[in-house]
Symmetry: D3
Subunit: 326 residues, 6 copies
């Protein structure tokens, strides 16, 4: 059965398809009868849903994160689309494909991966190149690394978000390595490729995005250091000094202790990686927020941004007529 | 008379030349007689000096910042060169050239200025181009801007330091404007050129580097905003919205209130300018410190860096034999 | 048509008058029909309103900040007055006077202005007196300055709030100038008069109170410095040192960098102005909060004050019988 | 024997008088012989002293804080006066008067005390007046209160400093009570009189100024609250609510927890007292620093002020010719 | 009449009993009629209640904290029990016992008190033992101390909470006094017994738990110091040094100024008491939160803990089969 | 040749023995001749030394950390012992034993180790016991662990300091595990044993104590996690959940991000370990400081303690005569 996408639901039409249950609540009407209030989702968005009848049979069994087969009618409530559900049941594992339900980065992973591979191939330092190849030629690692989100929520909570973020930071580091010749290019780029690799063990993305126990207890910085250390142990004669500098970049990439780095940057590469990652994250967060939270009443301005604690201005000044300078 | 440079003073030789008095102290010997303890300087460095005889006639008249004609003999004291002065007098204004006494950036100002001019010429936005041209075609401004230091002390306390710093930040912003297409290139580059322009009124460099009263009371951020506002007022029809965004970049380039910016960045250009300026400053400070403060007992490490509150590691790992990857 | 004031609406009566729409929402009933939920306001307060019929024709056109002609009936909902609207339309510009809709300071502006004028006239320093007169004899400036609010929200969000706040701070500074003879009285009072003048460009008050773009991007401290600098430039021979000290007071009146001042007070007048402004603001905020937020369950105490992060006690201890001291 | 004052010591003259030993060090000459290096002081200042001969007999017995009878000759060392001591011995208690050795406030204590008495007499609230009278009619309290310093070091480390500081804060609070009619005048003034009374138990001033054990362990805020509570207990029927508000002012007068107040101000009187005390202290510290630490190289500016973390500007702009305004 | 406990209310049954009114709201139905919305409570929990009829007669008289005699029927609303009230009136003082309505610590106060008495009896230092006995043999004090809660809300807001908390901290301090022989055991234990004694004047618990005026204005740290000082004054010859050290422990037990201590710990006993109190509080808060706020969706984890700003993990790893070590 | 200890050097005697050079400076006399200024040390203390003759031959070769064979005469300079060196040369490796030159903990390592072994043997959890045994039965690990210092400087900069600190924290955790039954005893004790194990790779102690490169770049928290992870990998079937909780305790034992922990405690064991380590460190630092820095002028008080930012009081109140309680 073809998946009907949330973004394609049209008011007034009937629908039968699979959706992810992001919220599940059994509630009471004034009359005392139970009804089911749901938020259904797939990779294209979310829609509210209610089920008025037959709730007793199904309600208690449902949990957030379940994928459901739903039959119902698309209506409206308070100006928003709302699905009135007639019947539903849990889907079986073989009926659905995970990719239909989680949002995915719009960028082509093979292109991004190709860029990282080219960066790795261009490295002169043999041990750094080797540890990176040991990962990027490992199918299991690649499958995980190219699918992982970069965050539980906020901007990069999309499949492929980690790859997208990594490629963006690596690209910026390439520019910086060109601008500051004192930088050890191979060290900087290796660290950029690996800086967030611990996220593949920090975040789970089987149905929704959430932290793993290891993520909560150890965090992606330590998980990344452990993962890289493990790989390095499999490479004979990997120089200790090289390992320490590489791990130092991973540990210190948040820049300050209070931001979760157990060490602050002490090498030029660690310093630059921290700035590159921070700047790239800030630019992308700015653009994403401007796109998703414009202030409807005030052109050019966003709504209040809590994480930056300010309003943002994204308006462009109309290009003036070239006359004045003539 | 040719200037004898501090760096060329040789132990055991006599010298007669002009030097800047950076410190002047009249002190007493156990016997009760006065002597003069000086630090003499020029653009190449500093040397300690003492004058044992004839102090009464000259000592009380001298002040720090005076340029002196000195006749004496180069000796050693506690392992350092020391000049024993036989005679000295204040120089007259026509005997000396300021440039001999203050250090100068090793980079060619005309090359740096050429780069800024090219950036200005490449702007599409006519009003931004025009306000920049009004400054960069003004000989008085140019003379000041190309000579000004970028700081009272620390790294850029050299003639031409402001130009060097500005060109470095502008160059980095050009790269970033290429990497992030959402940036308004002209706004970012105009702001980068002007971000520290208030320093020409904040710092004085007639004989040594020091803050002006205006610098201490108003600071270069406000002085820069006032200077740019002044120029803009002379350009008819300069759009208010453009002016506000440009001044916002200048005001917010320190990034946070507690670092002296009265506003935090709210536009993408202001955000990126702040990062570019901060990163460029940190990289140059790192390299300068590594060059000037290596730990003599520990190869690859610097002495303790107070402003960063840590030791820095600048050593390179020896490139390994390429074998392991083969 | 005479304006019917919000404070005079009586339950059970019909009303036809003009009101400012502070909130506008089109909502759905269970039955699917739209209704309009409004908050109507004028200078005397706010009242909730609903319009059940005929919404389609008007709802989509309304925006917050519109002034509406409304015909309806005053009722009650959940213990509060509520206007049930039968008909409404937007007012035309010539039907209404702005002053009816925005709250105004209860103090007489001409009295307050008279006090400031007397302070200005009493100044000995000719240049400070002259720059102040150039503003306070300028009708356009006066019209704006006497109408401007002192804040977007909180206490002084009333027409005339800036004048009221300025006069209060100036009055306190007069006392302090008398108490501390070391103070430069003219400098302190000039700075007190001008310290918040940038607010006339920071806040807009055409229909509601909000920050202007210039206010958000530059802030009233910098806007004030620019405004004063502009005036000073029109006065020949205004001494630079005097200008720098005056602007310094404006820049530093928030006291600390993290409170938005790009410089902290370095002169005695700047220091005292900062304290006077802070104290006066705190006293007025305390009194206003005690008046508007008493804890109904606990005599003498206010509700929790978020900005001060504490409960306030405004109760008076009953004067004891004078006996014990006799 | 008349006391010879430190400020009156003349180079080249012999002296025999009593001085307080502020520093005592037994040191060795290159030759191995011991000599005594001293700092001698009285209420007018300090002078360095050395004793070359006969040290063995006296050196080990001396301690800082001893008052010594000294016979010697005034000379110079490194541009400063220095006393070369021929003989010395410890003074006996009956030979000296403490007031000769500790600096004293230049203001007349009876005048200051008169002002406080007038404030107390002017109070309407009988219990507050009574608790203050119980202290200010108690000779033992008065003797201590009028002699106590206001600080161990810094500005008010002079006999009578507490009275001077208290009178200054009370005077300012009188002004403020007049300016803000909402203030409970009696409460504010009673709290102002008592706010630092705990200092009489916090600081010892028998020979030098130092904290007592109680001062270090409990601090003047708690000691003051205990002292006032004690007095209140001796007044029958003192209302609890009055006592709590009075003690609250004492506890909260430092304004914030991190400045040592266990409670932040919650009443208007506590708030105003905190500001008055802070402002008065800052103004006096500014003036004192400007007087004692001018920058000799930069007219109008002080040396760097560590506690405020900035340079201060105390220069006056020359009054301009009144012409421009004519 | 026997009290019917909230925890024993059964859906569908009628009930007539006394309950504490924790919330009282008079609300309107769409139809305009008033109804009463209540939260009723006793020591075993809370239950929502509504009264549809006859509200006019009773509603305006009720206040939060009243104890009511209620007759009604237990039903359900939104999955929770709800009492529909037919009649209610205020209880008279002689109808109810306070203990029925406030939660009480499950631990036996006589056992806890016995432990404290044993600690006091075991003290060698006669004055410390004596001041403690003067309190713990005072029936009025004991009645209050054994009933007082330890906090207004959070964990220990139960009758007897102060005794429970004190006994727990004292027990931990006994262990620590054994582990660190340098500790003055008697001082540590006396301070532990008394550290929070000021809470008997800081919190009121007549019907609900709330701060007293003295609590808000002075706080339990100062109130405790005043209370202990008072007792000490009644003991002849109590050594000052002993008193200062004991009061110091009470004042400094929050550890840092910003946590409300006017002095930070300067003695070993004060330091250890602070840690013991902090650790014991954190452990009990952890356990209480794990018990009351498990995350229903994630075994072993709690919901988000705001005061600690993190999720907590309380799961136990299943004990592995002992084989691997064999 | 028997080692002559620094503590046994007697003024006036000749000495020939080995010493560690902690400081080496070549300085000039007024006359221009070089001399050598040294600080010599062994495990019992330090002594200043000078060498006036024959410096040219040896001075340039010496480095801090060298062990020297010295022949000279013990004299005095400025009241301190000073060694005047006649001849010196570097020692060869076989002439000296490292233990003579570095201070050592006075506690018997075999006793401390025995306690840790008993704790390990008493564990019920087989995997935790096994990973600990794998370390504590590894001779290489034991040799390092029992010799390592616990800090580069401050208190535990002694050989065996890590073992001493670990045993003290483990002992305290045993007590706490008894007091709080909810604690997982085995987890807490395993974490206590391992919490600082990374210090064996963070600090070097071949001749003096200093951080390794790995220590500076990665820190003992990450090094400890890597070391423990390595061991765990060698144990088949070690449960992931157990590993994560154990590593979490190591990572979070500094308690807060800003103190270098990349995660804050989320389990009860991690929380308690953090407190136990912090308290034990503070108590030992207090006692050590009181012993080494008493204020000679003020009995019972220490000198100013910079790391705690206060004076400490270690005096005991004289036990009063038991009479008052009788």
């Amino acid at each position: 059965m073809d998946k009907v996408l949330v973004k394609d639901l049209v008011e007034g039409e009937a629908v039968t398809s699979f959706f992810l249950a992001k919220q599940v609540q059994v509630r009471q009407r004034r009359t005392g009868e139970s009804f089911l209030s749901l938020v259904l989702a797939d990779r294209t968005g979310e829609v509210a849903a209610v089920m008025w009848e037959g709730v007793e049979g199904v309600g208690r069994d449902l949990a957030e994160g379940d994928i459901l087969k739903v039959q119902g009618l698309v209506g409206t409530y308070q100006g928003e689309r709302q699905l009135t559900v007639a019947r539903l049941r849990k889907a079986t594992a073989d009926e659905v494909a995970l990719e239909d339900f989680l949002p995915r980065s719009p960028l082509d992973p093979s292109v991004l991966l190709g860029r990282l591979q080219a960066v790795i191939d261009g490295m002169q330092e043999p041990f750094l190149r080797r540890v990176l190849r040991s990962l990027f030629e490992d199918e299991a690692f690649l499958a995980t690394f190219t699918t992982a989100p970069a965050a539980k929520a906020i901007h990069h909570a999309v499949l492929g978000g980690l790859l997208e973020h990594t490629a963006s930071v690596v690209g910026l580091c390439e520019l910086l390595a060109g601008y500051y010749p004192a930088l050890d290019r191979d060290m900087l780029l290796a660290a950029a490729v690996l800086h967030d690799v611990g996220k593949i063990r920090e975040i789970a993305w089987d149905r929704t995005f959430d932290y793993t126990d290891a993520g909560r207890l150890l965090g992606h910085i330590t998980l990344g250091a452990l993962l890289v250390e493990e790989r390095i142990q499999s490479i004979p004669d990997f120089p200790d000094a090289l390992k320490e500098r590489l791990l130092h970049c991973i540990l210190s990439h948040h820049g300050e202790l209070e931001w979760g780095s157990p060490k602050r940057p002490k090498t030029l590469e660690a310093l630059v990686l921290h700035y590159a990652e921070d700047l790239d994250g800030k630019v992308n967060a700015f653009l994403h927020f401007a796109e998703t939270h414009p202030d409807p009443q005030r052109p050019g301005w966003t709504q209040y941004n809590r994480s930056l604690d300010r309003y943002l201005y994204f308006g462009r000044v109309e290009r003036a007529d070239p006359a004045p300078d003539a």
